[in-house]
Amino acid sequence: MNTLEIKNLTKFYGRTKALHNVSFDIKPGSILGLIGPNGAGKSTIMKSIVGLTNYSSGSILVNNEKLKKGSRKGLKNVGSMIETPALYGHMTGIQNLKLFNNGSTSDAEIKQIMDETQISSFANRKAKNYSLGMRQRLGIAMALLNHPKLLILDEPMNGLDPQSTHDLRDLLLKLSKRGISILISSHLLDELARIADYYVVINHGKVVKQSDAQSFLSSDNAIIKLNTSDNAAGLKAIQSIGLDAHIVDRTIEVKDKGTALNDSLKALVNAQININNVQRQQEDLEESLLNILTKDKGDK
């Protein structure tokens, strides 16, 4: 049973179609990174799940409970932080936490959440005096109340310093190991790449790609970088066997396809060119995303 199943979610803002038949699901204990440019529809998907905005058609199931306008039982075990954390400024951090505890989280568990999100040191101060990072951490702590099985976090790393980002990453990995599923969006793709098990790329309200993290990154765009005793001759030798190669910054760059690495090395050895350095550069999440978005633009 999937923790979250979204089928053909469609949303109109007036006459504008904001979401086009969006479908994806999240398995228990996995982290799904929702990525895409600004205005792609990521927040609208998240808002639709938690009922902050009405969707036009499609279905959303949380823990096998279909979410309808009149039936929102499925949200009982969903914790969320959408866009900026919303806090009651006149109340302290701990009061904000207690406010949204529906009684299922004990004081000891609240303390544990406070320790895990590292808010204990400022939890007795009024929330209106918090920095963005503090607000962000309290927002995440609030999302962890009431034993969620699904966490929905929209840009949770915004405003966090490097240490806090690192700690949040560890916390999210720990939570996923406990069986909590996480739907997360972030523009910090390097950070997302370290935790996400799956990715769904959204552009113009459409899912343009979805896959597991492994296959998402092992696309055709990896590059082999070669440094030789004679780069000009080396380039000729590699190109002569039909590989796509160029010289960039005094380095031969070969598009890594199939057996390109072996073939390039053989070609250089046969041409009696000394190889000084070989590096295989895997495409990172940012490059993958940009390639997908460029391809999507091209398709239109």
């Binding site: 938690v50 902050l52 306008k69 929102r72 949200l75 969903v78 959408i82 006149h90 207690k98 949204f100």
Partner: protein, 246 residues
């Protein structure tokens, strides 16, 4: 539902509204009691049955409260926390309505106690004419129901809490002016007596003689009309709340 109500009360207990307005009610009752005694503005009985004249203060407090209880959540973004859970929007809305009612009861109780203390201090008497007090309270409660439900409706349309309060307070003054102007027309067009502004006179009609000749409505018509308009305002406010995107 109980969880939602508990949360609303938790927010109020940790807020300043109830303490601030409670203190204003107490101070106002004391000041009026002192002034009434010294300058013979009103008798001890009138002071008590009119709750030291604090009803107007309660009116302003309730407009502010009803205007901000929802608009504050939208302007600060905290509405997301309320709506992104298993509770329906209607449950959230009803919990807000109950909180408004509880705040009204709280302010009435504080005013009653303050006035009672004022009566004992400044008029040296604890005697209460319950029937007159009940009539006054009932009439003002109906008036407040109409005004608070209109304020709640306005607050659902307004984007910011400041605007909601401003429009709410302006509405009360404007409504009284419009009501007076419409009374000229009511004598010519009888059907105009059913306009909502005419029901703003509910408290005056129920506590004073002769108002029915101006409003052209009987006391029962006035009571039922006020309740029906209030229900309509609350219903429309609830509908907007249900449909509003966050």
């Amino acid at each position: 539902m109980l969880t939602l109500l508990r949360q609303e009360l938790y927010k109020q207990i940790h807020g300043k509204f109830y303490i601030g307005w409670g203190m204003i009610m107490f101070i106002f009752a004391m000041l009026i009691g002192w002034a009434s005694n010294k300058y013979h503005i009103m008798s001890g009985e009138t002071y008590m049955t009119r709750l030291s004249g604090s009803i107007q203060i309660i009116l302003i407090a309730m407009i502010v409260f009803a205007s901000t209880i929802i608009s504050n959540e939208f302007s600060s973004g905290t509405i997301k926390n309320l709506l992104s859970r298993q509770y329906s929007r209607m449950q959230v809305f009803i919990s807000k309505l109950i909180t408004i009612l509880l705040m009204y009861i709280y302010l009435i109780v504080v005013t009653f106690i303050s006035t009672f203390i004022g009566r004992m201090i400044f008029f040296n008497s604890g005697n209460i004419i319950w029937k007159q007090l009940g009539t006054n309270l009932g009439a003002y409660s109906l008036f407040l129901l109409l005004i608070a439900s209109a304020a709640l409706l306005i607050s659902n349309i307004a984007k910011s809490s400041g605007a909601a309060i401003g429009i709410g307070v302006a509405f009360i003054f404007a409504a009284q002016i419009i009501s007076t102007l419409l009374q000229i027309l009511i004598s010519h067009y009888n059907w105009l007596k059913w306009n909502p502004f005419n029901f703003i006179n509910v408290n005056n009609q129920l506590t004073m003689n002769g108002m029915d000749k101006m409003t052209l409505l009987s006391n029962n018509q006035m009571i039922i009309g006020t309740i029906l308009y209030s229900i309509l305002f609350i219903f429309v406010a609830g509908f907007i709340f249900k449909k509003r995107n966050v």
